[in-house]
Amino acid sequence: MTYMHIGKDFTPPDVEGKVTGAARYAEDFKKDGMVFARMLTSPIPAGRVVNIDASAALAMPGVVGIFTADDLPPSAPPANPALAKEYVTYIGQPILAVAAESDLIAEEALAKIVVEYQRRPFVVDPLDTLTEGGPDPYPMGNTLIRNSGEAAAGTTASGTDVGRIKWSIDQVTAFRNGREPTGAEFGSEWEYGDVAARFAECTTVIEEPFVTIGQPHHSLESRTSMAYWENGKCYFHGSLQSHTVGHDVLAGMLEIDPANLVFINENTGGGFGSKIFPYPNMAITGRFARQLNRPVQLRITRAEEFFIGSARSGMQGWIKIGLKDTGRVGAVDVIIVNDAGSGGGGSGGSSAEHISIMFQPEAMRFRGVSMYTNTTPRGAQRGPGQNEMAAVLAPMMDKAANMAGIDRVAFRRINAPRADGKIGERQGGLSSSYMPESIDKAAQMFNWEEKIAKPRQISATKVRGIGVGQGFHTAGSNGYDGLIRIAPDGTIYLHTGVGNLGTYSYAGITRAAAEALQCNWDNCVIVHGNEALNLPHSTYQGGSNTMFTETRSSHVAALDIIEKMKEIAMAEFGGTIDDYSIGGERVFLTSDSSKGMSYGEAAQKAIEMGGKYSGMEYPDNIHRTTQRSVQAMQGTGLIGVAKDTLPREGAVPGMAIAFVEIELDTETGKFDITDYSAVAECGTVVHPQGLSQAMNGGGVWGFGMAAYERHVYDPQNGLPANVGLYQSKPPTYLDVPVTMNTAGMDLPDPQSPVGAKGIGEPAQGCAVAALMSAFTDALDGHLFNRTPVTADMIVNHIAQNGHNTGNLKTNTF
C-alpha cells in the first residue's frame, strides 16, 4: 500500500531541543518560592523506624519542613510505600523528606536528623529465603499472594498480600544443582497439552539450570519532580513514560479530583518500564507542596535513582526441552524462581510466554514462584520476563538443535509462530505473525549460510562465534481516545496524551491521523507533554504497545473529524456524506471538487455550527480526561474526538530476530561484534528512522544485558554496589559495533489501520539472545547458563580453573 506519510521519515518536533539542550525535563522547571526537598534513606536492609528526631534539622535556618510516612495514608506490604516506617525492606528506601531553601541546606539538614531503627533479619538471595528456615524479607513472609483487597491509599499496588512459601533443603539443593525440585510448592502454575506424552515422543531432551541478574533501569533522567498549587489546582512537573494514562492515578495519590491536576511532562529521559505509571515518591512532592503551601522540587540523586528506580527481576530456573525428530519442539517444562526485590513481582509467566510463542511447543508446563528479597523493588523493564528468558534460552535451544543435528536457523524457522500461532497458557491466537519471513530476511541480511560455514578458529588467540536470537513482546492494546482540532487558519492540531520517553513514538502515532487526513505534514502541530494543552486519554507507554494502540486512536479521531467535515460540507453543498471526499486539505464533492471548502473553512463553519463540531458535544464513551480537554477547546475549531472501538482479537506480537558475529579473544575474554543484523517483525514500518533507533537502542542494551551490566548486592550486609552508572556498566560507544544492520519486515498487521505494531522490547531481546548464542558457538558449545557472561567468566572457563560461580545467584556473579 502506498502511503503519504506512513513509512516516510520525518523530524519529530522535540529533536532540535534534544540536540541543542533546549529540551526541558522535570528538574529544569523552577517556580518562585520553590523549596528543595531531599530524602533520607534507610541504611539498613530490614527493620522498622522506631523514632525520628528532626529537631536539630528543623531548627536550622532555611529548613522549612519535614515530611514522613505519617503524612501519607497508611500502606500495607507488599505495596511499595513512598516513605517507609513499619516495614523498612531495603537499603536506600526513603524514610523521610526534608525541605529547605536550598539543596545544600536540605542536605545538611539530613545529616542532623537522627533516626532510630530496629533491625530485622534480611535476605538478598531468593533461594535463601525460599529455603526452609531461611530468613524472610518481611516479618510476615517472603512471597506475593493475590487477594481481593483494596489498594493501599497512595500506592499503586492492589489486591496483594505477603505470604510464605518454603522449600525443603533437599529441594533447594536439587534446584541449585540444576535438577527439578520434586514436590516443591509454587505460586503459579499452568500447563497446556500433555507434557509427559509429548516428552515421550521427543528424541532429543535437554535439562539445564539458568540464572539471570536483575539489571537496574538506570534512566538517565532521575525521577525528580516539582509541584505547586494554584487556585486549588496542583501543577505537577514529573518524569513518566506515559502521560495522560497516569493522570487519574496521580490524582488518587494526591487524593484530589482529577480535574484539579495538571501534569506536565514534555520530555522524559528514559524510563524503560520503571516510569510507566506514577511511582510512589510523586506522592511526596505533591503533598509536601500542599503542606508547605510552596512549590517543592523533590530532587532524586543518581544513587537514589538506583535505590528507588526499580530493576529487572532476576531469575533462577530449570528447564527441560524436548525436540521431536522433525525438529519441532515437542514439550517444554520450565521452573522459574523470580527475585521480586522488596516489592513488585517476578516476570516468570512472561518468561514462559516467550518460550510458548517463539518455539510453539506442542505441550508446555510452567511453574513459578516470586520471592521477595531485601533488595531494591523490582518492576517492568524492557521485555520483562521475555528478554531475560530470550537470553538464556537461545544457547540452550542451540544446544538442543545441534544435538538433533538441525541447523539453528532452520530449527527456529520450523518452530516459529505463523499467523495461526498460539501463545501462553490459554493458547490464544495472534493478530498477525510474519516470523518465518523475518527469519529468512534476517538470515539473508546476515548471510547466514556463508557465515555458519566459516572456521571458528581465527588465530591462535581468537575464535569466531555466530549467534542467533529472537525477541518477543506483546505489542498492542486498544480502547484509548484520539483527539484532533483543526483551527480556522487551517492548522491541524494532533493532540496526544502519549508520553515522550525518547522513542519518538508520540510523534509517529500522529502520522496515522495525518495519513487519514491526507494533509501536508507542515500544517500539522503535535500537541503533547502538558495537560494544560488539552490532551486525550492515551495509552500507557509500556509493552511496546504505543504504535499499534495509538495509530488506532489517531486514526479513529481522524475518521471522526473527516466525517464531521463532510457533514459540514454537506450542510453547505447538499448531498449525502458519501458524496464527499477529502484531498489537498479540502473537503469537496467527489463529483465536483470546486464545491468544497478548505479544512480551515470547515473549522470556521464548525465554530459557527457548534454542537459536536466545535466540541460542545462529545461522545459519551470517551474518557473523562478527554472530555475535559474537549470542554476546554470548545468553540475554538473543528474537533475530532473518538474512542478506539475498532475490532481487536488475539495477542499483538512484536517480534524480532537478530544475528551476531563476534571475534572472541581467548586470552582476555573480550570480544568484538563484527556483524549485527536484525529484522523487526513490527507490522508496517511507520517511521523508518524511528525503527532504526529502536532497533539500535534495543540492540545496545541487549549487548549490555548479555555481557556488561552488573547488579551486585553484598550478601553479608545487604549493600547494593550499584550507586552510580559506572558501577552498573551499561555498554559504551566502544563496546558496540559502529554499524548495526537493521530492517523492518514491513508487512501489515490486519488489526491496525496502518498495519503497525510495536517493537521496542523485542529489539533488546533478540540482541541479548543472539550474543549469548554467539558466546556458546565460539566456545565449542559451552553453556554458561546465565547472563551476563562477562570477560572474567570467559577467562575462567578457558583457563578451566573451576572458578565460575556454580551456584544460582541472581544478585551476584
Partner: protein
Amino acid sequence: MSSHDVMPEMSLYQPVRVEDAIGIANQFADRGWLVGGGQDTYGWLKDRAKSADALIDLKGIESMRGITETADGIEIGALVTLTEIANNPLIKERYALLSQAAVKVASPQIRNVGTIAGNVSQDVRCWYYRRGLNCYRAGGNLCYADTPEGMNREHAIFNASRCVAVTPSDTGPALVALEAQMVIDSASGQRVVSAEDFFVGPNVDITHTTVLAPGDILTAVRIPAKWANAQFFFEKVADRNAWDFALVSLSAAMRVNNGVIEESRIVAGAVQATPRRLTSVEQAVRGKARDEATANSVGNLASRDANPLNYNHFKMPLMDNLVKRALRGQA
C-alpha cells in the same frame, strides 16, 4: 545514611605559584584538599564520603603545565591532561607506552580534564570504601571486601594487607615501567621519588596510596631517556572498553637487540594496591628472544604467588596471558 550530591561549603584557594600552594596546603594540613582535574575529588566531596575545609585548586599554576624535553628525557607537568599526553608527539614517538596507557583511561571527557598527577594519585576504587564505609582504608578496623561473602571481583590477588583494594591507575604501571621520577615539592624543599617508590601498599600505609603527605604537591613527572624508543607493550582489560577501570593491565618496556630482550621492566596494574613489577618474569626473559617460545616459557610465573579472593581467580590467567602477549610481541 542518605545520598548526597551537592558540593559542601568550603574555602576555595586558587594559587598561581607552587610555593603559595604549598603554603596553603601546609596551613590546612590534612584538612586541605588539592585539586587538579577534579576527577577524584568532586565525587568524594559531593558524596560526603570525605571532607575538607579548603579546596586548593592548582589549575592556575602555569609552572605545573606543559611537556618539555630535558637533557635526560622529558618532564611532564603535573597538570598535563591525559588527552595531552595521549596526543603529544614527543611522548608518542619515544615513550609510546605512556600515551597508550593514557588514551585508555576512562572516557574522552574525563581524559580532557583529568591530569597525570591525578591519575597516579587517585584513591582506590573498592566499592565498599567508595561508599564511605569505615573500613581499614578509611581508618576503621575491618574490610568488607575480603570476607567469605565479599564481592571482590575487582580486588587484589597480591600483597593484600587487610585492605584488598587495587591501584586503579592506568598510567601508574606505565610510569613504573619507564622508571619515571616523581617530583614532589613541599615546604621542606623538593624531593624526587622513583615511580616505583611513589606508590605505597596497605602493609605500609593503609590509608594512603602514595608517599604524598599533607603539604606535599606532586609538581612534575620526569621520564628518563633510558627507555626512549624501546619496544613497548600496553594492554588494559576492563569490562568495558571505555569509562572503566582495569581488571588487569600490563605495561612493559623492553630493550630488544637483534630480537633478544636485553632488559625489560614489566608491570601489572589492578592486581595489588600498587603497580606490581614482575621481576621474576623480567629475569626469566633476559637474554631471550621476544617471541612465542619465550612467551610460553614463562608460563604462569607472573601469577605464581597470587592469593586470589572469592571472585577474582580470573586475574591469574588473565595476567599470565597479558604477559605472554607482551613477550610474544603481538596480540
